[in-house]
């Protein structure tokens, strides 16, 4: 019996390339879903960025005199230069968008649960590197838009504690001259960040092979089977990869890049600095009235704290439940976070350079959080029939236990004063280590005292 010619070719291909001995373990059939391949699409984009970046590197000159003119030369005179530059720009946007989608897909599917805790942490580090790619690459054309936005970002480093800020500023931007800043950003963009991302990618892939794909949060069907990489998974990967690349090419063809004006001190003076869309949410937070000037510490501190908590999520969320429909708290927090980021991004886009009054910020951000939270809880209780227990009774406890409340207020006030003093002493040169240590000890004691009072309150409530 003669064999199908297509099958014959596949067999030949498989044997000659040694694909039968592939090191990649077979994957379960439930992973044949585009949502499982968002990270892989980000890796494809990284490959496209590498190729287009290398092509641009042939003509790009990283000096303040020639960065803009060489970029303009690539766009206007190099054969296919406009398309390559545009694909590189939209590829960067796609990579950041895919990273965010991959992150939230993982969050709602609880992929961070045991034994994939460290995969989550490494993924977060990779996400930071992707954002750093955006930041460093943005400066390279040396336009008034990119330089002004980068100056804002570097300016934020000066608000970091004196032990970290100046060192980081020197490492990233040099001694302050534009030439050094451009060279550092160029080196970071083409050497340090790719090396970092590739190393972490290799580590994550190794861990993925060790642990395998995470199971769907709603459970696995009994008839689920393992599929070898060749040919099915390769074909699937080729299919979605080609579709994604097609969209990238067509969007690039439809909306070609136009380079803004070249950077000069005069041009920058008449320009309102505005970051790229993926940093707009943070920019909008920094524009809130209370966070202007020295208040920026609190904004940066809060954003850093959220990032740290998000990174440490696998160690904070220890429950075994993975179904998002049965995790009302974490699902609602996820929805609120997405809604806030979207609101701040759109708001930031619509109000460039405007300081946002505190009251308006509270109404808008608080309103979004309350509305999304209420809708989410309503959906969970009505549609999914999940019993959501809100600890509302605890709000009445301070009024019922006035003496304990007064006891609680003492360490609270002491702790607040110590915390403010500690932040002030750490961020003002010269740092007084002695006072900072005393503040820290008093803060710790206040925390312990508050925890004890809270515990006695809870015990009292349980007894009643």
């Amino acid at each position: 019996m003669s064999q199908n010619p297509g099958r014959k070719f596949v067999e030949w291909f498989k044997n000659r390339f040694g694909l039968t001995t592939t090191v990649l373990r077979p994957v379960p059939d439930y992973t044949l879903n585009p949502l499982y391949w968002l990270g892989a699409l980000a890796v494809i984009t990284f490959g496209i960025q590498g190729v287009t970046g290398l092509l641009m590197l042939i003509y790009y000159v990283p000096t303040i005199d020639q960065a803009y003119s060489s970029t303009l030369f690539i766009i206007n005179d190099v054969p296919l230069g406009n398309l390559i530059e545009t694909v590189h720009l939209y590829g960067a946007y796609a990579m950041i968008l895919l990273t965010f989608l991959h992150l939230f897909r993982g969050y709602f599917s609880s992929v961070q649960k045991k034994p994939r805790e460290m995969m989550w942490v490494i993924g977060m580090a990779m996400g930071l590197i992707v954002l750093a790619f955006g930041l460093t690459g943005y400066l390279l054309p040396w336009t008034v838009v990119s330089k002004s936005a980068t100056d804002v970002s570097i300016g934020m480093l000066s608000f970091l504690p004196v032990q970290i800020g100046p060192i980081l500023t020197f490492l990233i931007a040099g001694s302050g001259s534009g030439a050094e800043e451009l060279t550092r950003f160029f080196d970071l963009h083409i050497i340090v960040l790719p090396a970092g991302l590739l190393s972490l990618l290799a580590l994550k892939m190794y861990m993925f092979e060790a642990h395998g794909a995470s199971e769907p949060p709603l459970g696995v069907k009994k008839e689920s089977k393992l599929i070898p990489w060749f040919p099915t998974i390769y074909l699937y990967f080729a299919m979605i990869g080609a579709l994604f690349a097609a969209i990238l090419f067509v969007v690039s063809a439809m909306f070609p890049v136009h380079l803004p004006a070249q950077y000069s001190a005069q041009a920058a003076a008449n320009y309102v600095a505005q970051p790229e869309w993926y940093f707009l949410w943070m920019y909008q937070i920094l524009k809130i009235q209370s966070f202007e000037g020295s208040g920026i510490y609190y904004a940066l501190g809060a954003v850093t704290l959220v990032a740290i908590l998000f990174t440490l999520l696998p160690f904070l969320d220890r429950g075994s439940q993975r179904n998002p429909k049965l995790r009302p708290l974490y699902s609602t927090l996820g929805f609120i976070m997405i809604a806030e980021v979207l609101t701040l991004t759109i708001w930031g886009y619509l109000t460039p350079g405007q300081v946002i009054p505190d009251g308006l910020a509270v109404i808008v951000n608080g309103g979004v959080a309350v509305a999304v939270g209420a809708i989410s809880l309503l959906v969970f209780t009505r549609k999914f029939k999940v019993r959501v227990k809100l600890p509302l009774r605890i709000l009445a406890l301070p009024l019922k236990n006035k003496s304990i409340t007064v006891l609680f207020m003492i360490p609270l006030i002491l702790g607040s004063v110590c915390f403010a003093n500690l932040m002030s002493s750490l961020t003002t040169a010269p740092v007084n280590i002695g006072i900072a240590a005393i503040d820290f000890i008093l803060l710790f004691i206040s925390f312990v005292a508050m925890a004890r009072v809270m515990r006695s309150l809870t015990v009292a409530a349980q007894k009643k």
Partner: protein, 91 residues
Amino acid sequence: MTATFETSIRYAVIALLATAASTILAYLWTMDIVSLQRTFGALLGSELVIFSMIVFVYYKPALTISNTNWLCLGCVVAAIFLLIAVLISSP
């Protein structure tokens, strides 16, 4: 091997898609891709969608309603991308 109706349809679809892909390739070979680089990008996009559809036919051979719908959608997307290429190329 006796070709069933289903496999005949499958080969016909692949042949049609491959013809479209090779026609685009032939055009790409003759066109001035340097001055018409945006058109080149859009044609490359439609070429990639067609490649993706050929892979899809191989990967999901059964003629189910769902598979046929996805295939039709892919062909429509490829056609839209081709239209975009034509529109971009016109002065």
